[in-house]
Every structure is written in structure tokens, then in C-alpha cells.
Amino acid sequence: MISGRIKALLYLVILAAGIWAPFEYPAYTFQIALLWLMIVFALTWDILGGQMGYNSLGNIFFFGAGMYVCSVAQIGLYYDVAEYTAHFGAVKVDFTMGQYFTGLFVGLGLAALVSVVAAVIFGWIVFGLRGPYFAIGTLGVAIAAGELIGAWDYVGGGGGITLPSFPGDPEDRSNLFYFLNFALAIVTFLFVRWLYSTRFGLALNAIRDDEQKAEGMGIHTKRYKTIAWSIAAFFLGISGGIFGNMTGFIEPLEVAFPTVTFGIFMVLMVLLGGKGTLWGPVIGAVVFHVIKELTWTYLLGWQWVALGALIIIIVVYFQQGIVGWMMEQWPSMFGIVVEDKSEQAKEEAA
């Protein structure tokens, strides 16, 4: 097992690097902020996909829902939303610092709340589905949401919403959203780490290994599944609200409900890092983000081909992921006990 002191040191290094990075590399603040967002994506996807064995393709729904709820709340607190969106950003509304931050934090709170409520409602429907049907059912929810928002003029329809501009220095703005993403990633990580140490974690694993058995033993499976999805929705809703403000402009298909980019990245990062592990999603997110940024920079035009190749390689040759592979190589480091065959033979002989 990795000792507690090394772990504490590791956490400290990550924390320090996260705080130091935007000041050292101000040109890359957005990219690094995006990395923290990817970690939130991977960690929340793994709650269901890895720990509970329910492969959702629709988690991006909560990201988009949170984004829209947050934006509408920010505007709606001080302005008529329909009028604001009808002018496609041509209305120049100057928010004071106080108004901006009140709107932002009320918006993020509402984003989390509405996402959780949506998770409970949709959970009621989609948790009747198993295996591939669950994946397709959840994907349907995300795609439908994007189309519905696109047809809804009150929130700008397909034209989207330009978010209130930050009343201050642009550098402060980029640092603000960097640190919101950073804090969210850290809190999400600490939360799931705690969650997996309680009996909630064991119940999720039991559902993953044999749901019928879990039902037969009287575990409240529906309750666990719904709460697990709500937890993912809570963090994703907040991340959506932050990301909408970070980009400054939101629209339904590419930014809020991007099922084929962010929606698939979530799954891919977890598979790459090792699903059903605590660190797998984090490592997968970092490696994936670096690969993605490199291909987008040096293989522009071929980036989607490179990404497709990566998907095939992971799915065909590397299903266990990085951390899963490490567990196979050095099980004792992860506290896994493997039976010593020679000892077993001795026992049987005796």
C-alpha cells in the first residue's frame, strides 16, 4: 500500500501546482481550467459508469441544463430574459460587481438544484433500463434536450445567449473561472473519495457486480441508483454554469449539450484511466486532455481521425485502463490480496 505520508505529499503537490499554474502560465489559463473541468467530467461519469456499472451516454444533459439554468438566473435576476435573448446579445447590460457575483452564485446554486431534481425525475424513467438500453435511453435524453432548447425562443433558441460580461479586468475574469473550476474539481474528488469509503460505495459495487443478487438481498437498489445519479448531476450542473460563463456565449448543440464531444470524452477519459477506481478518472482526464491538445495543435485537420484511432486502441487493446493495468501489475500496492498458489498447495497437502 502507498503510505499515508506519500499520499498527503501528493495531494499537497497537486494543490500547489493548481494554484501556481495560472500565474506562471497565464496564456494557458483557459486550457488548464478546461483540464479541471475534464476531471470533474470523468469523476462524475465514473460514479455510475465505473462504480455502479451503468454506462450513461447522457450525463452531458446535466452539464447543459446547469448551464442554461445558471445563465437564465443571472440575467433574470436583473433583466427581462425574453427581451435580453430576443436581441441576441445586442442589448448591452452593464452589471455592477455586486450584481454580477450575486447572479453568478445564485445561478450556480440553482443550476445544482435543478440538475438534481432532473436526475431524480429522469432516473425514475431510465433506471428501468439495463445495459445498452440504458446507454441509448440516456443519450436520447441529452439529444432531445438540445433540440428542445434550440426550439425555445425564451432562452434564445438555436441562437443562444451571450452571458453578462464581467465588470472588471479580463485577467481577473480568467483567474476567477480558473479557480472556480479548480475548486470544483478538488471538491468533487474529495466528495467521491469519501463516498466510496462509506457503505454507499459498497452498494454501488454490489449493483455493478450483480444487481439481481443485490435486489434479492434487500438492498434499496433504486434509491442508491437515483442518489448516485443525483450526485453526478449536482457537480455537472455546477460545472455547466461555470463553463457557460467562462466561454461567455452559450448555445444548445455545440456548447451546452455536446453529446459527441464532451459527452463522449467523459466516457473515454474514464476508460483510458481505468474505470471503477478513484484515481483512474483523474489520470485518464489528464492524459486525454494532453493528447487532445497536442493533436488539435499538431495534427489539425486530422484531429478527429487521431481521436477515433485512440478510441479503437483503448476499446480493443486497453480495456482495463491505466490504473486497472497497474492494479494487475502491482496488486499489493492497491491493497488487493492475491492468493499465493504455493501456499495453497501446501495447505491442500496438509
Binding site: 454507499f200 459498497l202 459495487n205
Partner: protein, 248 residues
């Protein structure tokens, strides 16, 4: 019988045109071991599934401690204290044995807040004690999926005991188990009944096993109740012998 814990009355169940159970009535007396035998395909497992709520029944009534349970689902029935094990073992393969045991604590007592608590020292002690009881203590840290089939069956039995059921339905507990281990298993089943006070209803093909266990037996054939009585009576019943030899 006044002290019967399970009362099955006139239960029928068909799948499409196949009648798996026809007008079956039986009772399981509280605190005893009851056997259920019958040739392959006679409807034993279907009856088990009906009792624990895996599928709705077409007609009849199933009562547990006087309460009608034929309209409850699997989880609700399990939380009442009526549990079953499977013919094919079902354990949580990617978790170690201790974790398999810990998640099997009785959920009828679980409050909402319990979802986010850790396990108590008593739970852990009980888990290890029961693993010791079935002879798996030395394997407790291994992933349960790495155990042999027989060991997984023992683990599944220990998980059932961890759940503190009032009644345990065992579907062929000795099938696939090494013959030298069967005596140990019979002994443990008898102790689970005597020491923990768990009523058992056992499906079993191995006549030697069921004769050693059950006080009372039921025999099914072609989905119908063929005979019932003490083990010796059943063993010598010409209809039962015919059913097993295919004369029926």
C-alpha cells in the same frame, strides 16, 4: 398447522403454454427444515421464484408470517426476512469476501442516513465470524470472483446468514460441491437452523443430503404436488420412485 411461517395455497404459474406450477399448496413450519424434491423440470425453482417475488403468480396465495406477499417485489420480501440462494452462485465477484459480507447486512433496519455511514466494528466482527463459520476465514481478503465454485457457494450461504433472515430458501446447496465437503455443509445447515433459529426450505437432488436434513418433505412432478410426508415415507412412495425413474 398453526405455526407455519410460509403458507402457499393453490398457486399456479405458467409461462406461455407451459404450466410450471399447477395448484400447489404447501406449508413450511416455523423453525424446521423442510425439503422440496422432484425430477428436473418439475417446477421447484419456479415455486421458489414465485415465493420470493421474482415473477407474479397467476393464481393462489402466498403468505409469510400470516402476511400476503404475492403482490410484493423481491426487495420488499427480502427485507421482511425471507431470503433465497441461487442454483448458480451469485456473489459480488469484484469485491473481496469481507465486503461481500458487509454489504449483506440486513437492510430492513437501514435508515436513509445509514447509506453514508461506515460499517460498525460489530458488523465487521460478525462478518469475520460467519466467514469463519463456513470455513473461508483464511480467504477473506481475496476477491470473491477468484474463489472456486464450492467456495463461492459457501460465501453465498454466509452472506445469507449475515442478512439475518427468518426463512432461507436454498436452491440445491450441495450441487457442484466437492463430495468431501458435503458433510461439512450439512453440518453447517443444521447448525444454522439450530443455533441461529433460521427456518430452511431446501431444494435438493442429493437424497442422502435431504434425508439427513429434512423433517418433512414435498415432492413435485410435472408442476404438481405429487406427495408429501416424512422422509422415509417419501423415499418409499411408489409414485415418487416412478417419477424419478420416468414412469410418470
Amino acid at each position: 398447522m398453526n405455526n407455519s411461517v410460509i403458507e402457499v395455497t393453490d398457486v399456479s404459474k405458467s409461462f406461455g403454454g407451459v404450466v410450471a406450477n399447477r395448484n400447489i399448496s404447501l406449508t413450511v413450519p416455523d423453525g424446521e427444515i423442510t425439503g422440496l424434491i422432484g425430477p428436473n423440470g418439475s417446477g421447484k425453482t419456479t415455486l421458489f421464484n414465485s415465493i420470493v417475488g421474482y415473477h407474479p403468480i397467476d393464481q393462489g396465495s402466498i403468505k409469510f408470517e400470516g402476511q400476503e406477499i404475492s403482490d410484493l417485489n423481491v426487495q420488499q420480501i427480502a427485507r421482511l426476512g425471507l431470503l433465497r440462494t441461487f442454483q448458480q452462485t451469485r456473489i459480488y465477484g469484484k469485491m473481496d469476501c469481507v465486503k461481500n459480507m458487509l454489504i449483506s447486512v440486513p437492510h430492513r433496519k437501514a435508515k436513509w442516513s445509514d447509506m453514508f455511514t461506515d460499517y460498525s466494528a460489530e458488523d465487521l466482527e460478525k462478518a469475520e465470524h460467519l466467514l469463519d463459520f463456513v470455513g473461508l476465514y483464511s480467504k477473506r481478503k481475496l476477491l470473491s470472483g477468484d474463489l472456486s465454485f464450492g467456495q463461492q457457494k459457501l460465501l453465498e450461504f454466509a452472506m445469507a446468514l449475515m442478512n439475518e433472515p427468518k426463512v432461507l430458501l436454498l436452491d440445491e446447496p450441495t450441487a457442484g460441491i466437492n463430495p468431501t465437503l458435503i458433510n461439512g455443509l450439512i453440518d453447517r445447515l443444521l447448525r444454522a437452523n439450530a443455533d441461529f433459529g433460521i427456518t430452511l426450505l431446501v431444494i435438493e437432488h442429493n437424497m442422502r443430503v435431504i434425508m439427513n436434513l429434512a423433517r418433512h418433505m414435498y415432492c413435485l412432478a410435472h408442476g404438481e404436488l405429487l406427495a408429501s410426508g416424512a422422509p422415509e415415507e417419501i423415499q418409499n412412495d411408489q409414485r415418487v420412485i416412478d417419477a424419478y425413474l420416468g414412469a410418470h
